[in-house]
Symmetry: C2
């Protein structure tokens, strides 16, 4: 199975775009629907508003107890009741990437509690992280979230908590696409 | 500038292959010469023995004091006297990649002293690490080393030291190509 995922904003796909919000930096063009493909090479498609790609990879910060907690309660994608989703493309600054691993880890978790915050919203919110900084894409990460309609307020709170952290002071571009499966 | 590098084993290029050694797992086909290209997309070339690609990226394990030491004494590539080189493609096991960050870090440095060993051979040996696990390549890393002929014995010792570490018990494929610039 390929580790490469393509997020295609256009007129097709099972997800209807219900919101396109610019958080910081340049936004994304409006699209009616979103399609997601899991293939090594770019899907051949008629013109689309945008196409973003990323790959799943190994964990970069989580420690043994954090991984144990995450694996115990994180839900899978594709749950029938999870008809709401969000795609959050995000890019961090050059200052962030130039820091040694221990400095990035300290800001990520000991200061900003990224994993701890996320754990508080499990198993309501399912998540898959895609990396794309190293492959010439406009963003560093594409995070995909799925949840049931009754958990949308909790998801909003999760985003608000994360965006108030020190880690987020290193975010120089962020968009937020909200979706409903239909 | 692109962060993508292509290592092309064939009949052309400034580096003459002087050795092709299989360390563990499947080896690489023999090639006469090596060419290196730094472009985002695959170079169009006549048939070659093999073509491997990787990207430079942020540091994954090094801490602040280690980065400070490395940056103070690591030499650049392309020194006129550094007419010897080595390309070491390497793949680690699924067990390695499935470990949390702190477990990998502990084996990498606290147990195996990877950075500490490398530092002892600076500034004689220049090095550039390329990642390729996430882009569907047969290896996880391609490491490129350059040194002067009088430092070849030291370089041999560096490799022997690293290969005797616990970290290397997770290596399931490794090849070693030795080269001379001419």
């Amino acid at each position: 199975m390929s580790n490469r995922f393509w997020f295609i904003g256009g007129r097709d796909g099972p997800w209807r775009v219900t919101g396109n919000r610019l958080i910081v930096g340049e936004g994304l063009a409006d699209a009616e629907r979103l399609d997601i493909r899991n293939t090594d090479t770019a899907p051949a498609l008629s013109p689309t508003a945008w196409m973003l790609q990323g790959f799943t990879s190994n964990l970069r910060y989580a420690t043994t107890p954090e991984v144990t907690s995450l694996r115990a309660i994180q839900p899978p994608l594709g749950r029938p009741e999870a008809t709401r989703a969000a795609l959050i493309p995000l890019k961090k600054s050059a200052v962030w990437w130039d820091m040694p691993q221990d400095e990035r880890r300290a800001i990520f978790e000991e200061t900003s509690h990224h994993t701890e915050i996320g754990l508080a919203y499990l198993p309501a919110v399912a998540r898959r992280l895609h990396h794309c900084r190293d492959i010439g894409e406009p963003f560093d990460f594409l995070t995909w979230f799925e949840f049931a309609p009754e958990h949308e307020a909790a998801f909003d709170a999760l985003l608000a908590q994360l965006r108030a952290t020190r880690e987020w002071t290193f975010v120089e571009r962020e968009a937020e696409i909200r979706l409903t499966r239909e």
